[in-house]
Symmetry: C2
Subunit: 681 residues, 2 copies
């Protein structure tokens, strides 16, 4: 299938197919070869032809005349099909008949349609076709009936991918009842209903038709979160450039660039290439050159776009392959990390620069005449040690540097590093920082214990544990503080993934680390709420009380870690209907002074652009919550702690306004708790 795919590494792979012009052309290897020679990667065909349709129409009108309520449709005949098994099949996308009307209000024709669909799909599967496109429902009022048939269809096959063909908006699509109000999100609503009825089946996805006039950015974003596997691009979507050749508007170019970032990459199908062009000319733009559209002009233009896609960002390059892939958060305290894990983290082009700046800034405020004692606690393979050494040089300060590390394997590495690279300037100590007991006080403690939600890898508990050794007079912790942030999102792809993990009952109560891609932020202006903060060092009285409860050890004993309990509640305004599948979580941290880190999409560029060390965290919901237009979501989230563990609990409530203006609840989830998968101290 890769004949037309680029050799250049920076050009993305786009599979472009030709949606053949008439529904009645039998195809074979010759058809495919001709289209490949034209530059296409794939072809499409309807599974059956006009003979079949004629048979069905005749039988149906006979049954109507006899006033029958049902009609048995025998299976296909040799003269009724467009495809046969053959070597071209892997590059064929099959379409079921467009005249099938699964949601018909005529019970007889609905019954007939259902049988026709079954015959077509069974025959396509027999031929080895892996992707079948089925027309979406013909009306908005009978979606459950349509969805029930798709559900049955999905249960029958175990192989065929089903793409439901829908327009982005109802404008050009599904019939509406008379007098009904135009509703931009209605086609999305239809899709949401179908896939919910079908239990987010992994073999059910979208063939989305791109319109000549694009809908609002909100709707474009909404579809982006959905499993688009095919983009249908009719020739009417193109407009002529000054020379009259078919091109895309800037908006269409942007949409295509965006949607082609989805993984798996959607197929592109160009349709109506032989239709006389009637390009849409934007109002006021005047008439441009006369269109000079050749059937192949559309393909040529899309190949041109493919070669001229904007380069990937640092984060895109780093995250390739990780989009929407769920990972359990690290347990750095309970497990010893492997070298490769450290290596991945050390590649970050931004994080360690920020740390070096912060260490220098902290050294700058110290007395230039004293020797400053600096400890890197949890030194790993030593990246912060190197940066501390560089910072002391650039700040022109004398430091005594200690590297504390509990992982015995990393300790060996640090010793060698000290001998070979750091010229023995570093004191390497093998110890859990919480039990390290040096005969002096440390002026600056540097650590990198933050997780995707800030405190989720037990940074507060570790830094509390090491605070004993910090100089009580002006001792500094880098980071000085950090905060957790969250917002409700739609994430159907992730939800489907979690649903598929039925054998693991904890799957829907685990916070995952995940590079969020096919998601939509539901809150007005994509608002993200700051949940809570942690500051280091702790006030002396908090420390002494916690230590008293723990018999001298912070975090142990009843209530000894209660100062690290947190709770946050926030209300999010939701302007447009949608479905909450979970919460996206981020963090911000002040390392020192004005040196900060952020993973929040709205502040990362200002605070730590191109930082790649952390993907967001995702708190799933067992059962998604459906939201009406102009609703509100209340999220409550808790950071809980026992003597051995830290975990989160979360619940979501949905509200709307009643006719008397009262706020009333329209949905509430059960309590989710990650206690079973909590982070061990």
């Amino acid at each position: 299938m890769d004949a037309h795919q680029p050799a250049e590494p920076n050009v993305p792979v786009w599979y472009i197919g030709h949606h053949l012009p008439t529904p009645n052309v039998g195809i074979n290897i010759g058809t495919l070869e001709e289209e490949i020679s034209n530059g296409y990667d794939m072809i499409t065909t309807y599974i059956t032809n006009a003979n079949f349709r004629a048979r069905i129409e005749q039988a149906t009108s006979g049954a109507h005349a006899d006033n029958k309520a049902h009609l048995y449709i025998p299976s296909l005949d040799a003269e009724e099909v467009n495809i046969h098994p053959g070597e071209h099949i892997p590059q064929v996308i099959a379409f079921t008949s467009s005249w099938i009307d699964l949601d018909s209000e005529d019970p007889l024709f609905a019954h007939v349609s259902r049988q026709v669909l079954a015959h077509e799909l069974e025959y396509a599967a027999f031929c080895g076709v892996s992707t079948v496109v089925i027309e979406g429902p013909k009306r908005k009022t009978n979606v459950a009936q349509y969805a029930q048939i798709i559900h049955t269809t999905l249960l029958k096959g175990s192989y065929t991918q089903i793409h439901v063909h829908l327009p982005m908006t109802e404008e050009e699509g599904v019939a509406t009842n008379n007098g009904e109000i135009y509703d931009e999100f209605s086609m999305w609503d239809v899709w949401n209903t179908i896939r919910t009825v079908c239990k987010y089946n992994a073999r059910l996805s979208l063939a989305l038709r791109i319109p000549a006039v694009l809908p609002s950015r909100h709707l474009v974003n909404r579809w982006f979160a959905e499993p688009i596997r095919t983009l249908l691009i009719p020739s009417s979507t193109f407009c002529p450039n000054p020379k009259g050749y078919p091109t895309f508007s800037t908006a269409h170019q942007g949409l295509l660039t965006r949607y082609m970032k989805l993984r798996p990459v959607p197929y592109i199908l160009i349709s109506d290439t032989h239709v006389e062009p009637t390009p849409v000319v934007a109002a006021g733009s005047g008439s441009r050159s006369k269109p000079r559209y050749e059937p192949l002009g559309y393909l040529v233009y899309l190949r041109h776009l493919q070669k001229n896609q904007p380069p990937q960002s640092t984060v895109e390059r780093f995250g390739a392959g990780y989009q929407d892939y769920l990972q359990a958060p690290l347990q750095p305290l309970a497990d010893n990390l492997e070298s490769i894990t450290y290596e991945v983290f050390e590649k970050d082009p931004v994080k360690y620069d920020q740390y070096e700046k912060a260490i220098k800034a902290a050294l700058d405020v110290r007395d230039p005449n004293e020797t400053i004692i600096v400890a890197v606690t949890g030194a790993g393979r030593g990246p912060l040690v190197s940066r501390a050494l560089r910072a002391s040089k650039s700040a022109n300060r004398s430091i005594k540097l200690i590297a504390v590390e509990k992982n015995p394997n990393a300790y060996v590495h640090l010793l060698r590093h000290n001998r070979d690279t750091w010229a023995g300037q570093v004191t390497v100590v093998k110890s859990d920082m919480r039990s390290w007991n040096p005969p002096f006080k440390v002026d600056i403690i540097v650590s990198e214990l933050l997780g995707s939600f800030g405190d989720n890898e037990l940074s507060p508990e570790c830094l509390d544990g090491v605070q004993r050794v910090l100089n009580p007079n002006g001792g500094i912790s880098i980071p000085a503080s950090y905060s957790a942030h969250y917002t409700p999102i739609m994430a159907p792809k992730i939800h489907a993934d979690i649903l598929s993990r039925r054998s693991d009952p904890d799957a829907p109560e685990t916070p995952y680390v995940v590079m969020l891609q096919a998601i939509e932020s539901l809150a007005e202006n994509e608002y993200i709420h700051r949940a809570w903060d942690f500051h280091h060092p702790l006030p002396a009285n908090t420390m002494s009380e916690a230590a008293a409860l723990g018999g001298g050890f912070i975090g142990l004993g009843d209530g000894g870690n209660d100062h690290n309990i947190r709770k946050s509640k926030a209300t999010f305004k939701i302007p447009r209907r949608g479905v909450v599948h979970g919460l996206a979580g981020y963090f911000e941290s002040v390392l020192f002074g004005d040196v900060e880190l952020s993973t929040r999409p709205d502040t990362i560029d200002a605070k730590s652009k191109d930082m790649i060390s952390w993907f967001p965290i995702f708190f799933p919901l067992k059962t998604p919550v459906q939201l009406p237009d102009d609703s509100e979501v209340d999220v409550t989230i808790w950071r809980e702690t026992s003597e051995r563990k830290v975990w989160y609990e979360w619940s979501v409530e949905a509200f709307t306004k009643g006719s008397r203006g009262q706020r009333f609840r329209v949905g509430v989830t059960e309590l989710h708790s990650s206690k079973k998968n909590g982070c061990l101290m």
Copy 2:
């Protein structure tokens, strides 16, 4: 606990306790014995006393003064508790401190309250107390916080029953925000949120406080569906009779009678018996006698009510013990029924009378000079055979009577019955009715194959199969027709039961036979929708087409049973917010002429009063759907068939009206299918 319970079989068991007047009385076996001698069954106590409260208040104000965010509360002291282990404990209901404020907006006091609750519950559990009443949330705006703590509490103990104490309406209860609109259902909403967050935990139930002025009948019905385990009845609920003794209004009597039908039977706790009475006098009723309320007067009156409860109805007597108990529907075709099962069905006082009337009416329209051939197909132990004989006598018609039965054990019984009781008048045939092949045609076929949803035990398929033997000229089937009916209901108790069956993945997709009790019909005017009908005999052309597809056998072969496929969609108006947990299903049947059967609550009394043979059917929803006020529910349900099975599929959508008057979807379930548990042909 049964000292004061009735010896008479018709008097119900009511456990009445005394909610002791002050929160600061330590109790022991003497306290209990005194109250038992007064006529009570139980006593209550607060777990801790004023000493404990004083300690907590002092510590809290100290922490507030120090501006602390958290405060560790050590556990209880000997001088701080009201209970100790002892033989009185089984008759003690413990209350946690009413000043605990779990949903406090002061984080410190919320944190303190949570610890206080944990200490009290742990101590009560240590003492062996099995039921603890906890005050509901103090405000409507922070319910998730309250619920999260209850959730944690439920996870800790595995034995204690927790009753959340709530008023029926917000009028006298939870603090509301200033200017908020009065909302009759808000306390129910609070409860619904708590139990949803707590995953319908079986150990979480309600201690409902009865107000002096009862709310609307709708709210009384709503609470009836919930797990009320304690009724708190303050002395202010009583009003004086002409002699000045405390009594209940008619409405209060009705409420008590209704709620005391719940299973398990709620405890009654009388409170404020030593408070000076200020009875509510209905407006316009004028002043009655001066109240002469003694502390024991309330108890005396409730014992009087207990002894004078109205007698149970036939259905209540028959269904005792079966309330909300889920049973899988029978598989009479696949399994052979046991004698005891037949015996239960034969006890019905109404069903067989109706059958006899129908047979007589069918005989009446036949030519009096011919011998009428009557077959009872699926004769079981013969109740319809006896009725056919009686009908022939009263109609004064000569009949030839055949009893066809496939169950070899029932066949033996029929043979004996024919010899001993029917004087050999009956021809007994051992055969599945679908393969019975007599050398004559039958004039009247009588069968009793209906299930709780009419067609769910394959009556259509069986009667199609035997239609071959029916006289094509005016042959009669009794029943002549039947129809399936459904309506959306709230059924939290049943939902909790299904949730507890986690090990069975099919549990939420099984239609259950169940005597519905703790449910609420959600549709406006409790509307029930007629889904579909079956008529017998089938038209000749339907028969011949189906037989052609099945190679001569009805119901076999592709499409051979398609005429028994059904689909129904209905929209239900929902005036008051609620939660749909599933669909209640009923049936109606025309046996012959105007002789009918019905299980619909709104038509059973007119058509077949006191008929007990069928409980309703319940189609569950995996995930309940939350409904706003003035919403609509669309239900779609399918009767599906393959060559071997019949099953149902169902889905529910919820809609509301948007600000522009448009109807929009606020919820949709996945498709439910009983295919795995379908009824085998």
